[in-house]
Amino acid sequence: MRKPVFRGTKPLALTGVLLALSTILLAACGGSPSTLDPAGPIAGRESNVFWLLLIIAAIIFVGVEGMLIYSIFRFRERPDSPPAPQWHGNLKVEIIWTVLPAILLGVILFITIQGLFDVAKEPEGKTVEVTAYGHQWWWEFYYPDSKITTADSLVVPPNTWVKVKLFSNNVIHSFWVPQLTGKTDVVPGHDNVRTFKADKPGRYTGICAEYCGVQHANMRFDVVVTDNFDKFQTWQREQQAAAANPSSDLQAKGKQLYLDQCTTCHGIVGVLENYTGKEDPTVQCVNPEKQNGCLIGPDLTHFGSRKLIAGGVLENNVDQCQPGGDLSNCNLAKWLQDPQKVKPGNDMVIGQLSKDDIAALVAYLESLK
């Protein structure tokens, strides 16, 4: 019989396997919203479970694959091989290799159940409540205590439990911030809750993790953890205020453009008549017969203070959007120029705006801090 494997494959294969497994360590490096780079206790717990599983899996893998590879080399048929023993089975051996894995699985099950009840615990102490409302295809965040609504960025204080109510009146989405918590689906008609805490200030990428239609890939958000609780309260107060008045002609022109063209879908508190921005979407937006108070697009009252825009896919790079300057790198301008190019299929279908109009709108919206 032809020998299909050459001498020296064994060490090669072993190296290959170790290399492959070690790449997993890369997952702990920065750059990505990595589940193995936790910044809060929930994600930390979930990540510890992973490392334990990896060790167990690696041992089993090396053991079983090792046995396989050993047999392949050792028991190759050679011209002088004696006839193989015609074993049909062995009850003792069968019992051993049923009972031992059962014990191991039992241990893992214990860890599983303990872990799942742990991460489901109700938070104690100071809690911030937020409603995360999954639209197609952007995230709205409503704070019921301070009655403010914002989009794309979920601002929270550090070292405080955040209780996120998950609301949808359309399709199923999923709320996932890999560095802070595992995901929970946002199911229309259900009142799911996801609780997490961030240990330190920073920005953490959030992702929609349930296929929700054509732009599911472009439905991100970020969790902005302020430096301390006071800064968070300051932010809340700023968000509660009505929109800033325009302070230049260009901005005034932008405000007029907004009133002429954008009010069907977007609200600005203090500018759009009868719009308060204080309504609880879980009340306003759930009745299929009533549409009032429930806008299609994000609230823009404090647009200028947001770090992410366009359903979480574009950075709000204010420094590239200075009035009078070159707006070719300004993301907001790019968005206004052609929203369908950035996010084909989304609901913002607008006619072509002139460059001057875009400049005015950019100036006005970025001034709404």
């Binding site: 992973f50 193989a84 015609q86 159940i113 991460v119 197609q136």
Partner: protein, 563 residues
């Protein structure tokens, strides 16, 4: 025209050939399980190529960030059809095809219990498959993912006033119709398998002596019979919601989207065991022959298959850990999922014991069977990890799951299918396949599949969700995606090598003897290819390896062991 001599040889009758004796007619009207098996296999392989093209398009789009190969709507149709095609139109019919061809031969029967219903099952599959692929012509291929979650799959009006992009078009209807037809095909096939195996085994072949491949097809058939009704019910309710104004899944009027998930996964989980059990069976036939030993622990392998069958109905909500079920329910499903890992582990140990101290012959079928064991282990390990609920919260709906499903489906079912093809090709066609090309294909596939699917573990851990048509350049996912795409194209090369081997061997392959591998079971005790009636005289069986007994009467199994 046929000429027949009648009576004492002095009269000659000349008549027109009936339709059923023309080349086309023979295939259109056949009820011969071997021909039907071949038709299933050829059709399934064609759909494998279709699904494979869809996979390559997906990977081409995801090779680089902000890819421009496919627009988002087309991409969403691609990944939906890739899953639907591969599961319903490739693996299931291919396993059916093998079962159809091999099972009657293995049990010493002349045909299946219901030959015409057997043919019916095949034709329904063909029509259903063509129908669902036709949807591309209308640019309305199903686009809701292969498991079509509600409310996304509902029509615009049924899924809520503020939902603008549910499924207004016919996409979901094609899916419902197609899968219903495929369900009918599978149900008729399963009934046939069950009755055939329970009633038509050769004399002396107690169920305790039936080959393991037949056992696995039997369990698979029971699973299909009990699981498909869930899918039929779920689809029927979806159809009613979409076209007849009901609100089973529509939350706004009192329905519940999670109902779809429960119904679907009550089918969907047994379904994945339907896809893998025949593969277990094939490997359990190939390993002993190429180790020159009987299978180790026949009883344990057979009963663990049955155990998996029963347990598969108790685990479905492990696909729904992130949906918000109460923790106590999740604990139940975590427990049942852990339990089902046990029979699978037992099988792997028994296969290892089979090759231990054997005389291993590394011909093509053996390579693929060993590859199966190696790759399925990885799929089993990352699957067991997914059962650990707190970890699952992080990686469900991410590329980690995509890695798991492809290790068990490609590294598992597909490798076993190739093993089965190489093993039984000589029997089915009377020719040998080219061994060198087969070995080359094996290594290309092994490298390709690991390159394609291993990086996906990391992508999931790094936060990449499933079913995204593109990703931004600053997430740190770029290199891994590119690696995965290269692996996928390498897999494509492997499949090309196989096609070359297939075409060449059909035309110019070495003539195959009736027993090229010195095998143990009854199908090898026939000509290659077998006569229309399989066996002129039905054999009498005295052990689990009747053909081995016949060839080695001195050391026959029935002399040394009582089974």
């Amino acid at each position: 025209m046929a000429v027949r001599t009648v009576g004492d040889g002095t009269t000659t009758v000349v008549r027109e050939k009936p339709f059923s004796e023309t080349f086309i007619g023979e295939w259109l009207t056949t009820t011969d399980h071997k021909k039907i098996g071949l038709m299933y296999m050829v059709t399934a392989f064609f759909f494998f190529l279709v699904g494979g093209m869809e996979a390559l398009l997906i990977r081409a789009q995801l090779a680089l960030p902000n890819g421009q190969v496919l627009d988002p709507e087309t991409f969403n149709q691609m990944f939906t059809m890739h899953g639907t095609t591969m599961i319903f139109l490739f693996v299931m019919p291919m396993m059916s095809g093998f079962g159809n061809y091999v099972v009657p031969l293995m049990i010493g029967a002349r045909d299946m219990a219901f030959p015409r219903m057997n043919a019916f099952g095949y034709w329904v599959l063909l029509f259903g498959g063509v129908f669902i692929e036709l949807s591309f012509l209308f640019h309305s291929a199903p686009n809701g993912g292969w498991f079509m979650y509600a409310p996304l799959s509902l029509t615009k009006d049924a899924c809520g006033v503020h939902a603008y992009k549910c499924t207004p078009g016919m996409n979901a209807d094609f899916w419902i119709l197609g899968t219903t037809m495929l369900g009918i095909s599978s149900i008729t096939g399963s009934l046939n398998f069950v009755v055939t195996m329970l009633k038509m085994r050769a004399p002396g072949m107690s169920i305790n002596r039936m080959p393991l491949f037949c056992w696995m097809i039997l369990v698979m058939s029971f699973l299909l019979l009990f699981a498909l009704p869930s899918l039929t019910a779920a689809s029927a309710l979806l159809l009613l919601d979409r076209h007849f104004g009901t609100h089973f899944y529509g939350f706004a009027y009192g329905g519940d989207p999670v109902l779809w998930q429960h119904l679907f996964w009550s089918f969907g989980h047994p379904e994945v065991y339907i896809l893998i059990l025949p593969a277990f069976g094939m490997v359990s036939e190939i390993l002993p022959v190429f180790s020159r030993k009987p299978i180790f622990g026949y009883t344990f392998i057979a009963w663990s298959g049955v155990a998996i069958g029963f347990l598969s109905f108790t685990v479905w909500a492990h696909h729904m850990f992130a949906v918000g079920l109460p923790p106590i329910a999740q604990a139940f499903f975590a427990s049942s999922t852990s339990l089902i890992a046990l029979p699978t582990a037992v099988k792997i140990f028994n296969w290892l014991a089979t090759i231990f101290k054997g005389n291993l012959r590394f011909r093509a079928p053996m390579l693929f069977a060993l590859g199966f064991v190696g790759m399925f282990l990885i799929g089993g390990l990352n699957g067991a990890a997914l059962a650990v609920v707190p970890f699952d919260y992080q990686v469900t709906d991410s590329y980690f799951v995509v890695s798991h499903i492809h290790y068990v489906l490609f590294g598992g079912s597909v490798l076993a299918i190739f093993g089965g093809i190489f093993y039984w090709f000589p029997k089915m066609t009377g020719r040998m396949m080219n061994e060198k090309l087969a070995q080359l294909q094996f290594w290309v596939l092994m490298i390709g599949l690991n390159l394609a699917f291993f990086p996906m573990h990391l992508l999931g851990l790094l936060g990449m969700p499933r079913r995204v048509y593109t990703y931004p350049a600053n997430m740190g996912w770029n290199e891994l995606n590119l690696l995965s795409t290269i692996g996928a194209f390498l897999v494509g090369v492997g499949v090309m090598i196989f096609l070359i081997n297939l075409v060449h061997s059909l035309k110019k392959g070495e003539k195959a003897p009736s027993d090229p591998w010195d095998a143990f079971t009854l199908e090898w005790d026939t000509a290659s290819p077998p006569k229309k009636y399989n066996f002129l005289t039905i054999p009498i069986v005295r052990s689990r390896r009747p053909f081995y007994d016949k060839k080695n009467p001195e050391i026959a199994d029935w002399k040394s062991v009582i089974h």
